[in-house]
Symmetry: C2
Subunit: 355 residues, 2 copies
C-alpha cells in the first residue's frame, strides 16, 4: 500500500483525499487543515485523521472540539508521498519542508513549473516522469488542453492550435472572488501562459491561448480551433474524442446547454459533489472545415486534476505503466462518462430500467 | 407499501422520487418525463420505470433509445397516490386527469391553493390534512417560513412577523432565467402573496412579506423580523430553533459565510446533490432586541419541500401521526444537520476520526 498524506483540505485537497481513499493500492494516512472550520469537521466525519498544517495554531482545533492526530511534520514522517493541495504559492513555500523530511511530493498547477522535477499529465507524459522525486500536476485548464490536443496530434498532426479560455471567476464557495459583472482579460497579454504550460507536458505542439475570466463559478469553457496537418472528417474527430476515457462527448439529444445542466447530469449520475473528472465536449460543436477543427469544451476546475493526482502518485512510487495506472484510477473512481442516448443515425433496442 | 408515482422528473420530481424510493413503507412505481433528455436517461440509470407524460410524444423516447413502461394513464392506474411535480401551472391542468383516474394527488406550491383540498406542511398542519383526497405542499419559501414561525408562535406568541425574501432568480440548470445583474422586486406590490400563503398552513399568525429576486441560483435568503408577545433571551431562541429537526443553526465557528459554502458543507457531509432539506439559520444572526427578534435564514429551493412531500403522502394514505411520519422521513433520508463544532461557551473532549 502506498501511504499518502494530503497537505491542505480545500477544494482540491478534499477531492484528492477521497480519490486516494478509494484506490485499492493506496492508504490515506491523513489530511491537514490550517483552521478548524466546516471542512475540518467534514474530514473528521469521513474518518480521516486530521493534522494541523501550522503547528502554532494546533490549539485552535481543541478549542473548537476538533481532535488532531498531530501536526504536518508528524504526517510527513508517516507517508511515502505527500500531495500538496495548499493555495497557489504556498506549495512553493512548503517545498523545503517536504525536502527536510525527505518526503516525495506532488504539487498543483498553481505553482510554477520550477517547483518540481517535472510537470505531469497522465495522458501525455506519465513515463517521462519516472525517477522524479517531485511532480507538479498541471492546472485544470492545462490538463484539459493536454487531454484534447494529445490524441489530435497523434492522429492528424497539429500545425497550430488557438484556444480562448473563458475561465470561471472563482469556485462556488469563494465569496470573495470576482468579477461579478464583467468579462475580464486575465492576463491581458496574449498569448497567455497556458500555451507554454501545455508544452511542459506535451512538447512540440504549437498552441497559443488567450484567457478571460467570467462571472461564473461552475466550469471553465474553452473555444478551440486546431489547424490540422491531415484533416479528417468531422465524424472521425467525434469518434476519436469519444474513445478517450477522460473526454465526455455530450450528445445533442441530452439537451444539456451549459455548465449548470452538465453539473446536474453529473449529480443525476450520482457523482460525488457533482464532479466532472472528464473534459466535456459538446458533440454538435465539433466541426472540421478545411484543415480547421472547431469545438467547445468545458472543464470542471474542481475535479479534472483529481484523477491526474492519483496517477502522479503511482508515477512517483510504483513501476506501473501509464495505461495500468489510468485504468486502475478510472475504475476505482468511476471515471469515463458515456450517455445512453442515441444520436440521429444510431439504432439499438431502447434501454429500460430492467436492463 | 404505498405505491407512488411521480409525474414530472425535473428539479423537484427527481428528488421526490429518490426520497420515496428511500422510504421503508413506500414503493416508487415510476416517473414521467415529457421528452427523452439527460434526466430521462438518469431515471433509467437509477432503475426507475419511465412513463411518457404526453402520450403523443411517446415515440420520441424510442427514437432516442430510451424505453418506456407506458404513458401517464398507465402509471395512474398502478399507484395509490401521484405526486405532481410538473412545472408551475401544469399541475392545475393535470388535476382533472388525476380525478378521472380516481387517483389521490399531491401538488406543489407553484399551483394556487385552490388546486387541492388543503395545503400542507408537516410541522404545522399534518393532522388537519386528514381525509383530503388532494394536498398541496406549499412552496419552498412558505415551507421555510412555516417551519420557523410555528415554534416561535407556540413558545412566545407572534404579534407580527415581517420578512424580506431575497429569492434566487432560477435553479442552477435554468439557463433561461434572470436577472443577470439586478435585484428585482417580484412582485413589486408589498406585502407579497407569501404571507397569506403561510396562513394556508399556519393560521392566525400575522406575517407580512416583501419579495425580491437576485442573480443567484443556489438558495433563497430570508431577512426575518418577528415582534414577539413575550420576548425570550437570544440564547433561548437559539436553543428553540436548534431543537427543531428541520432547522439547522449554522455555528459561527464553521466559517460558512454564504450559500456557496453551505452547499459545500452539504456535499462534504455526503448529501445527495448537496441538498439542504433544512432551513439554515445563521447562529450569530439570531438576536432579540426588546420584543424584536432578528435573524437571517437560507432555504434551498430545490430541496426543502422534499421531506414535506414524503410526509404529505403519509397524511393522504395512512393513519400515522405527524411525529411518526416526520421521524420516519427524517431517518430514511438523513434529515437533521448538526455541526460537531463547538460554540464559545461549550466544552467537551475533542472529536477525532476514531470516535
Amino acid at each position: 500500500m502506498i501511504r499518502v498524506g494530503v497537505n491542505g483540505y480545500g477544494t482540491i485537497g478534499k477531492r484528492v483525499a477521497d480519490a486516494v481513499a478509494a484506490q485499492p493500492d493506496m492508504e490515506l494516512v491523513g489530511v491537514t487543515k490550517t483552521k478548524p472550520n466546516y471542512e475540518a469537521e467534514a474530514a473528521i466525519r469521513r474518518g480521516y485523521d486530521l493534522y494541523a498544517a501550522i503547528a502554532e495554531r494546533a490549539g485552535e482545533f481543541e478549542t473548537a472540539g476538533v481532535g488532531i492526530a498531530g501536526t504536518l511534520p508528524d504526517l510527513l514522517e508517516s507517508v511515502d508521498v505527500v500531495v500538496d493541495c495548499a493555495p497557489s504559492g504556498i506549495g512553493a513555500q512548503n517545498r523545503s519542508v517536504y525536502a527536510a523530511h525527505d518526503t516525495p511530493a506532488i504539487f498543483q498547477g498553481g505553482e510554477g513549473a520550477d517547483v518540481a522535477d517535472a510537470s505531469f499529465n497522465a495522458r501525455t507524459n506519465f513515463e517521462a516522469s519516472r525517477g522524479a522525486d517531485t511532480l507538479r500536476v498541471v492546472s485544470c485548464n492545462t490538463t484539459g488542453l493536454a487531454r484534447l490536443l494529445a490524441p489530435l496530434e497523434a492522429a492528424y498532426g497539429i500545425e497550430k492550435a488557438r484556444v480562448t479560455l473563458v475561465r470561471r471567476g472563482g469556485d462556488p464557495s469563494e465569496t470573495g472572488r470576482g468579477p461579478i459583472n464583467d468579462v475580464v482579460p486575465d492576463p491581458t497579454t496574449v498569448p497567455s501562459h497556458h500555451g507554454p504550460d501545455v508544452n511542459t507536458v506535451l512538447s512540440g505542439v504549437d498552441v497559443d491561448t488567450a484567457a478571460l475570466k467570467a462571472p461564473v463559478t461552475t466550469m471553465h469553457t474553452h473555444s478551440v480551433n486546431v489547424t490540422l496537418r491531415e484533416p479528417p472528417t468531422t465524424e472521425a474527430v467525434r469518434d476519436l474524442l469519444a474513445d478517450e476515457s477522460r473526454i465526455f462527448t455530450i450528445p445533442e439529444a441530452a439537451g444539456i446547454d451549459g455548465a449548470g445542466k452538465l453539473k446536474e447530469y453529473a449529480m443525476d449520475r450520482g457523482r460525488p459533489r457533482g464532479d466532472l473528472w472528464e473534459n466535456c465536449v459538446w458533440e454538435e460543436s465539433i466541426n472540421v472545415s478545411g484543415r480547421d477543427l472547431y469545438l467547445f469544451e468545458n472543464v470542471h476546475q474542481e475535479a479534472d486534476v483529481v484523477p491526474e493526482n492519483v496517477d502522479a502518485i503511482r508515477a512517483l512510487t510504483t513501476d506501473l505503466s501509464a495505461a495500468e495506472s489510468v485504468e486502475r484510477t478510472n475504475e476505482a473512481l468511476g471515471v469515463g462518462l458515456e450517455s445512453l442516448l442515441l444520436s440521429g443515425g444510431d439504432a439499438r433496442d431502447p434501454i429500460t430500467a430492467d436492463d
